[in-house]
């Protein structure tokens, strides 16, 4: 794992704050979240304090600080999805998998997050599991959709 971080950091010049967000994005893409260890390494590379890095990372909703589940669910809570019942869907989803946004289920199967909009508003409500967008979702289709993941 240390090597993954090393190979990411190699691509960015040292001591240049403008690389902080791209670095965080690369780390999250490779490891799924921003670990304490990763923060330490980034801090050395860019000569920024760990709390500074956390301050920037936590400002943006994209970054996670907990290990993700095997599948990541992103529930769209944009306006179109809200008007088409997205709130009800999230409610049922929380009950179905037993976690709320920001958490990972105990069996490590799913993690859940909300996003502002996935850009498929014409097909609302939508949710994304890993990289697949499930459009025109409904509470009814929820169970069978979740069952296709293991």
């Amino acid at each position: 794992m240390a090597d993954t971080i090393q190979s990411i950091l190699k691509k960015f010049r040292q001591n240049n704050q403008s690389f902080l967000i791209p670095i965080l994005q690369s780390v999250q893409e490779k490891e799924g979240f921003i670990s304490k260890a990763a923060t330490e390494r980034i801090s050395e590379h860019l000569r920024l304090s760990k709390s500074h890095i956390y301050g920037v990372a936590s400002f943006y909703s994209q970054f996670k600080f907990n290990p993700p589940g095997r599948h990541s669910i992103k529930m769209c809570l944009g306006t179109a999805c809200h008007v088409q019942g997205g709130d009800f869907l999230l409610h049922a989803l929380e009950a179905e998998i037993g976690i709320i946004p920001g958490e990972t289920s105990e069996d490590g199967k799913f993690d859940l997050d909300r996003v502002a909009c996935l850009g498929c508003c014409a097909l609302a409500p939508v949710l994304m599991i890993d990289n697949t967008i499930h459009s025109r979702m409904s509470v009814i289709k929820l169970k069978e959709t979740l069952e296709t993941y293991d």
């Binding site: 306006t79 498929c120 014409a122 509470v139």
Partner: protein, 621 residues
């Protein structure tokens, strides 16, 4: 430039050979919305079928043509005929279409329309452009979307691509700025600032290097105009950036794009690469002495980063917090240097203006709002998708003629996203332009139009937006940080049936002080959804407060679900979907709903085919 003539010639040849192909050409609509509807599987099936049946055909991907509700689209072009478009195809139908329609036995498959000229029947098929959703549109920015392969620069070049750039390079920066000023183009990112004037200010500003930033953050949740455009015709944006950079004298360009748009990012990367290969980007572009490069910066999920000063902070690697203006970015932006920021649609409109002339452009639209505007038509409406209409088109025409109206009686239309407002029926004849919308208390915004009907609760909508803005408030200034949370608290009280009438006064006062006291546009506009709903839908607020009733049966605390025993056939469908096991009962007997366990997710209500579940607006005491 002679070199470019050769490039053009080659591109045209490729495009014409496609149009005059002796073999069928198959196009699959592969925008994000198409893919979310299953276009990926359709794409695979097309390839499988041609391979299996040894069909000689070319396959191309295209972007979204607009009517997302009809996705996935599959177009087949046979020799001597225009493209025939088929809608809502699935894997099975794709296989049949590809094998039967291409060899001429598929006459039973009726296309939705042909992509040939409007008003003309071809082989008994009307034009795609004559459908109600399309015939009232004027497509300037979207002219290539769904038509060209967005991953092939030759398609773009063959359709007059880069002619605007050539003109710009020939006439010089001052002429370009004068032309854009004359066209009356105003920023499509929301505020409507005159584009030519912004460019002029940046050109005149002292400092080097200068930067050009394209704002592709598209923060309005419920809008996707920029996404669709970048996926369907990335080159139009990039050509617009080249022209803008040339006009202001910028050396470096950035596209700040939200990370939720992976496909748009990929298409832009491909487009940039292809432009680099043809030396349309980089050093000494087309031998003009003008050099420009473009980098992509992915946003990290913060609405406020769409605001220009916050966006710059984010590119610099900081927390995306806005700062007070002046100084404006045109004089002191990225790294303290002059920086011009424009929205995707603004920039993508520029090539057409230079190509066709400012007079042509300013002939479209209204006195103060020129040209066309794209809108994302979503929510409770029959025909959802992306449209482009002349400025000044009425809401009624957009919602009813183009969008087909809502299924249930119309209640409201929301424009401008979290910064905009909800307009009631009496505004349906309002022409959509910058000034009319702001007079009505809303804003044009970037182009999201969300239609709401009877089943939408307006208090809930106001609460939704305030939850959004209070979450997204960066926390820097007090009115916005504290004010939006306080407004949200009151709205929560109302939807829980716990408010008093005097809370409405407090609500209005608070909203006004947040509007006046906030540092940036986020806070200054965040109260708009509340102020407009309060103004135009006050009855609904009062109904929640005085009678503890939510007329639309949306507010969870004010609704209760029950089984109507007379109607329940005991089919157990609801039992199978209930996530908490709140419904029980043996087969063929009326079921029982345990209110203690019910989380009011509405699953039973939606699945019941016998109307045996009632979602009543209850009165709580």
């Amino acid at each position: 430039m002679t070199e470019f003539k050769a490039i053009q010639k080659k591109a045209l040849q490729e495009w014409l050979s496609l149009q005059n192909s002796p073999y069928p050409i198959i196009y699959v609509g592969m925008g994000s919305c198409g893919i979310a509807s299953g276009a990926g599987e359709v794409w695979e099936q097309v390839h499988k079928t041609i391979k299996k049946e040894n069909i000689k055909a070319q396959v191309h991907k295209v972007g979204c043509i607009g009517p997302c509700y009809l996705e996935p689209f599959l177009d087949i072009q046979k020799p001597g005929l225009p493209r025939m478009s088929f809608n809502n195809v699935d894997v099975q139908r794709t296989g049949k279409l590809v094998s039967e329609f291409t060899n001429g036995t598929g006459s039973k498959h009726k296309p939705l329309g042909h992509l040939g000229p409007q008003g003309k029947q071809i082989n008994g098929t009307r034009s795609f452009w004559d459908q109600p959703m399309l015939k009232n549109q004027v497509r300037i920015v979207l002219r290539n979307c769904g038509i060209i392969n967005p991953e092939n620069i030759n398609h773009y070049i063959a359709r007059d691509g880069f002619k605007g750039l050539l003109k710009a390079l020939n006439h010089g920066p001052e002429v370009v700025i004068a032309e854009i000023k004359k066209s009356g183009l105003r920023g499509r990112g929301g505020a409507g600032f005159p584009t030519g004037l912004k460019w002029q200010l940046c050109r005149k500003a002292k400092g080097n290097p200068k930067y050009l930033i394209c704002n592709a953050d598209e923060g309005d949740p419920g809008a996707f105009m920029n996404r669709s455009l970048m996926e369907g015709d990335p080159f139009a944006l990039l050509e617009g950036m080249l022209i803008a950079a040339f006009a202001i004298g910028a050396d470096h360009g950035y596209i700040y794009i939200r990370a939720e748009y992976p496909l748009a990012i990929e298409r832009l990367k491909i487009a940039i690469q292809q432009m680099n290969d043809l030396e349309l980007l980089g050093d000494n572009i087309l031998d003009s002495g003008f050099s420009f490069d473009i980098r992509l910066k992915e946003g990290a999920g913060a609405f406020v980063c769409g605001e220009e000063t916050a966006l710059i902070a984010s590119i610099e690697g900081k927390r995306g917090m806005p700062r007070s203006r002046p100084p404006f970015p045109v004089t002191s932006g990225l790294n303290g240097n002059p920086t011009n920021i424009n929205n995707v649609e603004t920039l993508a409109t520029v090539p057409a203006i230079l190509r066709e002339g400012a007079d042509w452009f300013s002939g479209i639209g209204t006195e103060k709002s020129k040209g066309t505007k794209t809108f994302a038509l979503v929510g409770k409406i029959r025909r959802t998708g992306l449209i482009e209409v002349p400025m000044g088109t009425t809401l009624r025409k957009i919602i009813f003629d183009i969008g087909g109206g809502p299924l249930k009686p119309f209640k409201a239309v929301q424009t401008g996203g979290p910064s905009g407002g909800c307009l009631s029926e009496k505004f349906l004849d309002l022409p959509v332009d910058y000034d009319s919308l702001s007079q009505a208390g809303s804003i044009m915004g970037s182009g999201g139009l969300i239609i709401m009907d009877e089943n939408t609760c307006m208090v809930d909508v106001a609460k939704y937006f305030l939850r959004f803005t209070s979450n997204e408030s960066c926390g820097k200034c007090v009115p916005c940080r504290i004010g939006t949370s306080r407004i949200l608290e009151i709205l929560e009280k109302i939807t829980a049936g716990k408010a008093e009438v005097k809370d409405l006064e407090i609500l209005e006062k608070l909203a006004k002080s947040v509007k006046n006291g906030s540092l940036c546009g986020l806070g200054q506009t965040a109260p708009n959804p509340v102020l407009t709903t309060l103004k135009y839908f006050k009855d609904e607020f009062l109904e929640h407060i005085e009678n503890n009733r939510c007329p639309a049966a949306v507010c969870r605390d004010l609704v209760e679900y029950r089984v109507i025993a007379d109607k329940c056939t005991g089919c157990q469908k609801c039992v199978s979907v209930c996530p908490t096991g709140a419904i029980t009962g043996p087969r063929s007997e009326p079921h029982f709903l345990d209110l203690e366990k019910c989380i009011k997710c509405r699953a039973c209500y939606e699945i019941c085919r016998f109307d045996a579940i009632a979602g009543d607006a209850i009165e709580i005491v």
